[in-house]
């Protein structure tokens, strides 16, 4: 049941990414580039997603437990630390260079978009490099906010 619920969530999410145009890296770069061709669509995508999710989380949190699981797994870390800032800064740079963030790249890879496939290979390398580096430092696995 957990797997089916996750599959349904993925399907809705993937459809939303394609319909909103966010799987097109040129459109994302047109949002990040502040010039006369600025395209503010991404603000409306994020804004409407935020609006719906805010209401959805508020309603869900009235329950003691989720429908098909024992506990809610929301992150509890509220400390703004250096890895959060540095990691997010690096992510923003990579997002600008490629026009991809993880979700659209995964969707694009399934539709055999060569750009998304190449990005995703490098992305997986980046994930592995981070995990190797943090394992070598002996530090605990980084907290997962989402």
């Amino acid at each position: 049941m957990t797997k089916l619920a996750a599959l349904v969530a993925g399907i809705i999410f993937g459809a939303g990414l394609v319909i909103s145009g966010m799987t097109n890296p040129d459109k994302v770069q047109a949002f990040l580039t502040l010039n006369n061709n600025w395209d503010i669509s991404l603000i409306f995508v994020m804004g409407s997603a935020l609006f719906v999710a805010s209401i959805g989380y508020a309603i869900s949190n009235r329950r003691v437990a989720p429908l098909f699981a024992d506990d809610f797994h929301a992150p509890v870390n509220r400390v703004i630390d250096q890895p959060l800032l540095a990691g997010s800064a690096l992510f923003g740079v990579g997002w600008a260079l490629s026009g991809f963030c993880p979700g659209p790249a995964i969707v694009g890879a399934f539709t055999l978009d060569a750009r998304a496939l190449l990005f995703l290979l490098a992305y997986l390398m980046g994930v592995l490099i981070f995990e190797q580096a943090s394992a070598r430092k002996g530090s605990a696995q980084a907290a997962v906010d989402g």
């Binding site: 809705i12 990414l17 394609v18 703004i80 992305y123 490099i129």
Partner: protein, 177 residues
Amino acid sequence: MTTDFLQNALANATLDTAVIGGCLIGLAATWLYLSIGRIAGISGIAARALRDPGWPLMFIVGLGIGGWLAAVIGASLSADNLASAATASSTSIVSHLTDTTQRWIWLVAGGLLVGFGTRMGSGCTSGHGVCGIARLSPRSLVATCVFLATGMVVATLLSSSGLLTSSSGLLTTSSGL
């Protein structure tokens, strides 16, 4: 000048599909939380799917199915038919393969930075930008401001220096579907 800038930004935008797609993303995040209590942060789910082929992998597969369905249905609605949607995706591979090598460098560099950065910062556009802010997480609000800021600075600088525009065809406004 400022009004021109904003008018252009609105004219370039595809507001109807942005809002419909955004609502679906919000709905998906709500459903994942309401049904199994999980946050729809894709970088976190992808990292988890690499070692746990349970619900995270199913979510990833769902992303592909949903995206493919929306692309096919969207193509059939916009006067094209399924066949042309199929050819469009195969020709696009060819055209992207013959794209400038410069673009490949941006994609690889970007992929490495996004992979490393989203693990280090424990989230991406979905996990911090949508789910985290919706949960009123101060970490996610700060993270989102940071990646939007660095992203905008880098894209704008590269574009004004001509580096990004020449390689990615940024000036050709394409509307997605």
